[in-house]
Amino acid sequence: MLHVKQVSKVYEGKVTYNALTDIDLTIQQGEFVGVMGPSGSGKTTLLNIIATIDEPTAGDVLINGNNPHRLKKEELAKFRRRELGFVFQDFNLLHTLTVEENIVLPLTLDGGKVAEMKQKAYDIAGKLGITGIMKKRTYEISGGQAQRTAIARAMIHSPKLLLADEPTGNLDSKASKDVMEMLESINRNERTTMMLVTHDALAASYCNRVVFIQDGRLYTEIRRGDNRQAFFQKIIDTLALLGGHANDLSSIRVQ
């Protein structure tokens, strides 16, 4: 579904900096892939390139066989609006809008029937458990609710690919767990392809597969078996190899 072919990103400046070098990545339809790596390894750059927010210096990104970077600006905007969904660390909700208006925003930009939009908004809000706050303003809701609103906004137009950049970065462990379980269930039930960039090993353990990046290059990837706890331990171990300490998290927690 998503093919990243030999993508490189070079930041020109006083000192040229290779943010990404020859990245190859393929994500299958319905797959839930996590991208991990130390700070500055190029995770977010990769996500931004796939999200068409940033341009690669070399290489191609194919989404369903099409290269969105070849599209004209106007078409690109429509492509993002229709095919992609975004979830950000800092939610990126518009504070001039209510929760409901935030959720339907991608649909209104594309034009459509109000009743239909409302129906979709309430359907998805029901699934995410935020029906009670639909009329509230963004400063009146908690972080977890804000992130669920952001997920609702990212999902309302049934995107082909959902991109999440540190969605649990601003949340406590309970809210993180809720958000990740929601993403997992959306992935399972709607068969939406997802890509998640995160530092949080626990969040990454909800993925089918985790790709590790170091210094702009693919380092390794691991797949989840049946057991999430075992997967979590494997992620911790790999992170330790990447420069952390294996005993940062006690393995006793894994039963």
Binding site: A51, I53, K73, E74, L76, A77, K78, F79, R80, R81, R82, L84, F86, F88, N92, L93, L94, H95, T96, L97, E101, V104, L105, P106, T108, L109, G111, V114, M117, K118, R137, T138, Y139, R153
Partner: protein
């Protein structure tokens, strides 16, 4: 880093943030400075300017100064509004309110000092252009040369340093901290919508409608009596219009989801309702200030046209002459002067006979005399049958006042009765309410009470020399000769300074109204950047972004101006009712020019604003 260094660096390293405030302060200083360059000009302070004009200049400078004070105060407070979050951050790190006050005070003084310097330097650069403009508007005999305006520099520098000092003291004194949480969340929380009540909305419509109706209905001197109540009604009405009616309308539109959920409408309307309170205040200020500018300039322009039109109508001839003892000699001199100036003219002469009637002096002219003068200025001749009498009225000499009904016959003291049958409008003779009779009837009239010899010249060639010829003749025969063209020239010359001052103040008001709008827009520029960045990630095409920004800016720029234009049009209509003189053309010109300037301003600001947002969004 000492505290003073911190305050200084805060300004010096954050230029962009302070730029708008700095520029508008500098602009204000420049306006005041150019005006004082003009007011202190040696060519104007001499004998040419009488004391009343000089006093007028001083009053105008005072008005500009007072206005500058409020303008800078407003700019300052809207600038501080946009920095709430910064203050919150500083307070979290332990800055006391006292320190924030002294920081704001220091910042203000730094900006004020440099704005004053910058304004003076910029003013010097533009001084020549202003003086040239003044020269043309003013009709001054000697040229306004560039000079080193030391007086103006000192006055501007001292008065603006004082002004900035007081504003800094005032602002840092009234700076309220509020709750820290409100400061930090300042940009996320709406300041709320003004409460819209049906009663007040109706009151707004009632006040505006009533004010307009009164302005349209009253005529003549009643206009002056009605001016104050109408002004108050319209000002309150305008305030309610923006705080009530606009809230009402935007709410209705926003709640109508079939409308507000269409494409980019949601972004636009959520924003409008979010900023309603700030917008309403700005709109009101801009509308009132622009109305003042429109009305002032329209009034001055209209008044000038009215006066010169009056002179022109009263004196359609190039020269006229009422004879006295030296009639022959004078007429010869006039003819000689015309020849000297290479002018050719048609001439007409008549003896005007005055009769006593009911304590009044009545002029009776015979048909052939009248027709000669009518032909001279290209008016239609008349054919009066024996026994008929025509009454002639001159529009110019009655200043457009509606004539009293004069249908009754006039009985001369000698017993002859004149029964007027037709009323003519004509400027052929410099008199109103006179009678034309047929040549036969004229012979039968008794001896007149008074006879005046009247000559008129109508130039056919060498019209460009009229002014110089007139100047010579006015010196030689100041009481006997009249030239309409020269009178208008004299009027414009005397009227020039008033016109210039009025124009200047009007333009200052108008430009500052524009600055208010600019401030309103740029207070939210960071919020807008962030907002559009978010939306762009979700997919907002460049076209859609431009559309939203255009609409947003258009509402800001045209909502108050259109209200002001309507107010101005009504005010000028009332003015024309006062004079009984139609000012439609003049009003249309003044209002049209302002609208045009506003449209250009809108396009310029939109261009820059869109560019800034686009740069932030990286579309």
């Amino acid at each position: 880093m000492t505290f003073r260094q911190f305050a200084f660096n805060n300004v010096a390293r954050n230029k962009r943030l302070y730029a708008a405030y700095f520029l508008s302060s500098m602009f204000t200083v420049m306006v005041f400075f150019t005006f004082s360059i003009f007011a202190f000009h040696p060519a104007l302070s001499g004998d040419d300017m009488n004391s009343s004009v000089a006093q007028g200049m001083n009053i105008a400078a005072g008005i500009i100064y007072v206005f500058s004070f409020f303008f800078i105060l407003y700019s300052m407070s809207s600038f501080l509004q946009s920095r709430k979050k910064e203050f919150g951050l500083l307070m979290i790190h332990g800055m006391s309110m006292k320190q924030i006050r002294s920081m704001v005070f220091l910042e203000n003084m730094i900006i004020g000092f440099f704005a004053t310097l910058g304004g003076i330097v910029l003013g010097l650069v533009f001084a020549k252009a202003i003086l040239l403009l003044a020269e043309n508007v003013l009709i001054i005999d000697n040229k306004l040369n560039f000079y080193i305006p030391s007086q103006a520099v000192v006055l501007t520098f001292v008065s603006f340093i004082v002004l900035f000092f007081f504003i800094s003291v005032f602002v840092s004194f009234v700076l309220r901290s509020g709750k820290l949480i409100d400061l930090l969340k300042g940009d996320k929380k709406s300041k709320g919508e003004p409460k819209a009540s049906l009663l007040l909305t109706l009151l707004a419509a009632l006040l505006l409608g009533g004010g307009y109706a009164i302005a349209f209905v009253v005529k003549g001197m009643l206009v002056i009596a009605a001016m104050l109540p109408v002004t108050v009604m319209v000002i309150i009405g305008t305030y309610l219009l923006f705080t009530q009616l606009s809230v009402f309308v935007i709410r209705r539109l926003k709640n109508k989801e079939s409308f507000s959920w269409r494409h980019t409408n949601m972004i636009l309307f959520s924003d409008l309702s979010y900023r309603m309170k700030d917008n309403a205040r700005t709109f009101f200020l801009v509308a009132i200030i622009s109305t003042v500018a429109f009305s002032a300039i329209g009034t001055l322009y209209g008044f000038q046209t009215f006066l010169s039109a009056g002179i022109e109508k009263a004196n359609p001839n190039t020269f006229t002459y009422y004879g006295d003892e030296q009639e022959e000699q004078d007429v010869a001199r006039i003819n000689a002067t015309l020849q000297e100036e290479h002018m050719k003219a048609n001439k007409a002469h008549a003896e005007l006979h005055y009769y006593d009637a009911a304590g009044d002096s009545v002029l009776i002219v015979k048909q052939s005399d009248y027709n000669r003068f009518a032909e001279l200025i290209g008016e239609e001749t008349v054919n009066v049958k024996d026994g008929q009498t025509f009454l002639v009225k001159s529009e110019a000499l009655t200043f457009g006042l509606p004539n009293k009904q004069q249908n009754r016959a006039i009985e001369l003291e000698s017993g002859v009765v004149l029964d007027q049958e037709e009323i003519l409008q004509s400027s052929a003779l410099p008199s109103s309410d006179y009678y034309i009779v047929s040549d036969n009837d004229y012979e039968k009239l008794p001896a007149p009470a008074d006879i005046k010899s009247y000559h008129a010249w109508q130039a056919t060639e060498g019209k460009q020399h009229v002014l110089s010829a007139a100047e010579k003749l006015y010196q030689q025969l100041p009481y006997e000769v009249t030239s309409g063209e020269y009178d208008i020239y004299q009027l414009n010359k005397g009227y020039g300074p008033i016109m210039f001052v009025g124009l200047f103040i009007g333009i200052v008001f108008f430009v500052s109204a524009g600055s208010f709008l600019y401030f309103r827009l740029y207070t939210d520029v960071d919020g807008d950047k962030q907002k559009f960045k978010m939306i762009a990630k979700m997919g907002l095409s460049e076209k859609e972004l431009k559309k939203v920004l255009t609409r947003q800016t258009a509402i800001l720029f045209f909502a108050p101006i259109i209200v002001a234009l309507i107010h101005g049009a009504v005010a000028l209509t009332a003015l024309s009712h006062l004079f009984f003189y139609n000012l439609a053309k003049e009003s249309a010109i003044v209002l049209g020019v302002f609208l045009l300037i506003q449209i250009i301003y809108f396009f310029v600001v939109r261009l820059f604003y869109t560019k800034q947002i686009q740069a932030a969004v990286h579309l």
